[in-house]
């Protein structure tokens, strides 16, 4: 029965489990280059899950697969039992109402001020009166400490502020899951600390599930309940941060301790250095 259920392309009938997202044997290639070859992982409900890995391993691609922006070549991605890849556009949009996503660059709408950016999903999806929308937006902005910046345009915000506004917008509709794509990149230590604190607060105060994709090991050590390290198109290791620190795998060890030498080469594949230097350039 279990096997036949897995082969069904339609919505899975599995009851609500402890895992909000299940990724089963996913294969995905860009052109002839394989990104994932048999990736499997689970995202537990109400927890913070970190997805780490060296640059170029497909962390953002994984988020795009989870959110139905792209479809896997093979395998299943189940969101609360729904096979994301087989959903119609309207069903996918209905599913996305349950998700909030924080983009690496914030992706704020540049023709609207901060207030309107946070109000945007509410105006699009609800018929709430203006006064109620105003209160919700101010509450969300207060949570990220930017109530006073409500009238600023995105171009007037620093990188950290833009990401906090994007976080307020992502949680405007009170989603079940918040997905963070590289939330710490390019932030100063103060902004980084704020974002870490906010992610934790959102998770524990609202009981939502969080997925944080990053390669900032130190921040994720504070933040994540469970961590996955992706390398070579598969999960190289999974567990708590302490378990990963002591992991026997060479690649996990290289990543967790930031070693220059290891299975992940420093140099992109290239012809022999001296041969290339001495080659007849004509």
């Amino acid at each position: 029965m279990a096997q036949s259920a897995q082969t069904q392309p339609e919505v899975s009938q599995t009851p609500a489990s402890d895992n909000l997202v299940e990724i089963r044997d996913v294969h995905y290639s860009v052109g002839t280059r394989p990104i994932f070859s048999g990736l499997s992982m689970t995202i537990p409900r109400g927890r913070i899950t970190a997805v780490m890995g060296p640059s170029g391993t497909g962390k953002t691609t994984l988020l795009r697969l989870m959110t139905g922006q792209i479809k896997p070549d093979r395998g299943q991605i189940l969101f609360d039992g729904l096979d994301v890849a087989t959903l119609s556009r309207s069903d996918l949009f209905a599913l996305r109402l349950r998700m909030g996503m924080l983009f690496q660059n914030g992706a704020l709408l540049t023709d609207m001020d901060v207030f309107e950016n946070v109000a945007f999903p509410l105006r699009e999806h609800t018929n709430l009166p203006h006064s109620l929308i105003r209160n919700i937006v101010l509450t969300k902005l207060q949570a990220v400490g930017l109530r006073g910046a409500a009238q600023l345009m995105p171009a007037e915000l620093s990188g950290g502020m833009a990401r906090r506004v994007a976080l307020a917008r992502a949680m405007a509709t009170d989603p079940e899951i918040l997905i963070y794509d590289e939330p710490f990149t390019g932030l100063d230590p103060i902004s980084m600390g704020m974002i870490v604190r906010l992610v934790r607060q959102m998770n524990y105060a609202l009981g939502i599930t969080s997925i944080v994709v990053s390669h900032d090991v130190e921040e994720l050590a504070i933040l994540a309940d469970t961590s996955y390290i992706i390398a070579g198109g598969k999960v190289a290791a999974a567990g708590t941060f302490v378990e990963l620190k002591d992991h026997g795998s060479e690649i996990v060890n290289q990543f967790m301790h930031g070693l220059a030498d290891g299975p992940v080469p420093f140099h992109y594949p290239a012809p022999d250095y001296y041969e290339q230097l001495l080659a007849d350039r004509s």
Binding site: M99, A107, L108, F120, H125, R169
Partner: protein
Amino acid sequence: MNLLRELLESLRHFLATIGGTTLFLGRVLGQVPRALLRPGLIIEQVHNAGALSLVIIMTCGLFVGAVLGLQGYDLLQRFGSEDALGTAAGLALVKELGPVVTALLFAGRAGTALASEIGLMRATDQLTAMEMMAVDPIRRVVAPRFLGGVIAMPLLTAIFIAIGVFGVQVVGVQVFGVDAASFWSQMRASVGLDDITEGIIKGCVFGLACSLVAVYEGYTAFPTAEGVGRATTRTVVTSAVLTLILDYMLTALML
């Protein structure tokens, strides 16, 4: 052999673009009814595409009319029929110059603005963010801009023609001394409702074509600075060529 392969590749690319644009038009038209439910968004885009193009349209209309007055007067006076300047200028502006030049200017001002705006939204993940918020960018971003262009173009054409006629009158009547009464009476007698209809139809068709090209190029732009730049260039070139081809086809149909 290489030339043949390149020609075939170009043909394949051309057909793919035509197919892609047609499908895109279908998607946009499918969202038009829902976009019409929010007239505020459309009015904003009519303002962006129309009102913000007014200065360039009026300036060019005035000078196109003035040149038409100069050339028309020079030509007609050789045959001693300078009184026919009103007829010649009126028909030329209403049937051809008005819609065509307005479309070319529209593509250069509003079309490029639309393409680069949507392309930059794509490059900065704003469209993806909308999709992630379960908001269809075709409905929220593309359809209002498309409708704004379609509505603005005929209005701009009418304004261009009116200003152009004024330009002809200034040069012909005020400068060269063509009799004002015969200028206006000949124009009124010769420019019929069917001529005005032809001009309006052309304005609408060119507006649809130029707006479609602009939103399509912006929406499908490669999400880099270079990609947005190329999309903007393609918008002007494709719109201009398409306008002239459509102009020939419409003129042949309505003669």
